[in-house]
Symmetry: C2
Amino acid sequence: MGGLPSHVYLKEVGPRDGLQNESQWISTDDKVAWINMLSETGFREIEYSSFVHPKMIPALKDAREVGRRIRRKEGVTYSALVPNMKGLEHALEAGIDGASVFMSASETHNLKNINKSIDETYPVLSEVIQEAKHAGKEVTGYVSTVFDCPYEGRIAVEDVLRVCDQLIASGVDYLSLGDTIGTAVPSQVEALLEGLASYFSKDKLILHFHDTRGMAIANIMTSLHMGITRFDSTVGGLGGCPYAPGAAGNVATNDVLYLLNGLGIETGISEKRIQEASIYIQNKLGTTLPSRSVAYLKNA
Amino acid sequence: MGGLPSHVYLKEVGPRDGLQNESQWISTDDKVAWINMLSETGFREIEYSSFVHPKMIPALKDAREVGRRIRRKEGVTYSALVPNMKGLEHALEAGIDGASVFMSASETHNLKNINKSIDETYPVLSEVIQEAKHAGKEVTGYVSTVFDCPYEGRIAVEDVLRVCDQLIASGVDYLSLGDTIGTAVPSQVEALLEGLASYFSKDKLILHFHDTRGMAIANIMTSLHMGITRFDSTVGGLGGCPYAPGAAGNVATNDVLYLLNGLGIETGISEKRIQEASIYIQNKLGTTLPSRSVAYLKNA
């Protein structure tokens, strides 16, 4: 199959985007043990927690302790989500190699999620980005709802472009484009990436899919054809919304890995160890993770 | 998105391939009521049962009664699986518009499944095909394990080609190419379809994916790019192997429909009615069907 990259870089966001959407509390000991397992799978980057106010995301209220206790493996970037200067301060104390800021391409979603308009969000993030860069950290800008918004419906490519442009101007190293509600189909992915192609290097773009409607692997396939080499995922497809049991969370690292291995694309990640880390967190959550591969291999 | 067909023809195989792989018995009354619901969704073809020996597939031992009792809707092709002349005789009595025969591209799989070598299978199917054609029925030849075999591993395109060629020579109208164990990735789909392209019209090819590893939607996407317009699917993704709970069955009609609608490809099928038919059979099975869309919509 022509036109595919030889190597893909997967960022494991399970400890952050996965756990923040699970209703179960995972103890700090278990989080640390699990992240230590993830460190041995071959990932080059793990987003280990979120330094938002503990009241906002109780599941991750132990971010500082997790950051202090995890065993850091040489060659792995440990990053965390930081919403503001206070969060960055805590994150820097706990130890991070990378910081992620976030906002939405949809005005309404941004308002509901961050309680600020898009224009009011820029200066807050800009200060965080500059301070993080000043501290020598790599910075990623998450842009939510780049395809569809639960409040506004279809989001125009121009709206995504405007937010991306502002984040790049503020100094982020990477843009992570989020299909937050998991509604996109490949034609939308192609249209967005074509729209962004003349403005941003593909090396700066990360695609972040949720698998709510089972489209994520097809969307990743289209992204690969468009030259994208960076994706976010969670082991087991962790992150199913607690209000919709059975509905999937982030695209499963396991499934992405199965695809990439099948296509002959290198990741440096061990399928076996990913499966072990999936079963570990599945048992801790006492649930069945949505990844097809987890179910398949566990019963094989 | 360029190079996609404007219309796709989905064949619902849930009452046959779906139910034959579910461990639960569904009563004849429920099967008839469910197939009658499926008839109202907009499908142009429904494979309603299998006329194999009742001992082989007890779940479908009521094929004759089902065939006699379902309400046949104008414009819908009601087909059934027939393994041999005895099966065809029963199927013709019960009423069919189309007959499907089956064999495998893998020698070992064919032997285990049909208890005959590939060469011994041809004359048996040839007689069935000719008799069905003689009775004015449309005939489809299912070819199993066209990508990978659980016993032999990777199957060569030449082996698939040989079986397809023989079936076409025997008079089948369509070839349904099965990813029986759900292992294929898009590069395999592309390679197979390229290999068959110079021998068979794309209009004669049906792709039949199982979603065991979550690759089916991506594989369908690749098939669409290669000009394929016919796919088999089951509502809800029915057909999870009873020995691997949680492992998926056929690709879910719901998910395929979500993809096709998103791409602007017409099918004539109502998403709402598919969802109703999925919930109906899910409740009868007392299980959770693997389709992402069923879980999502049920909880929405």
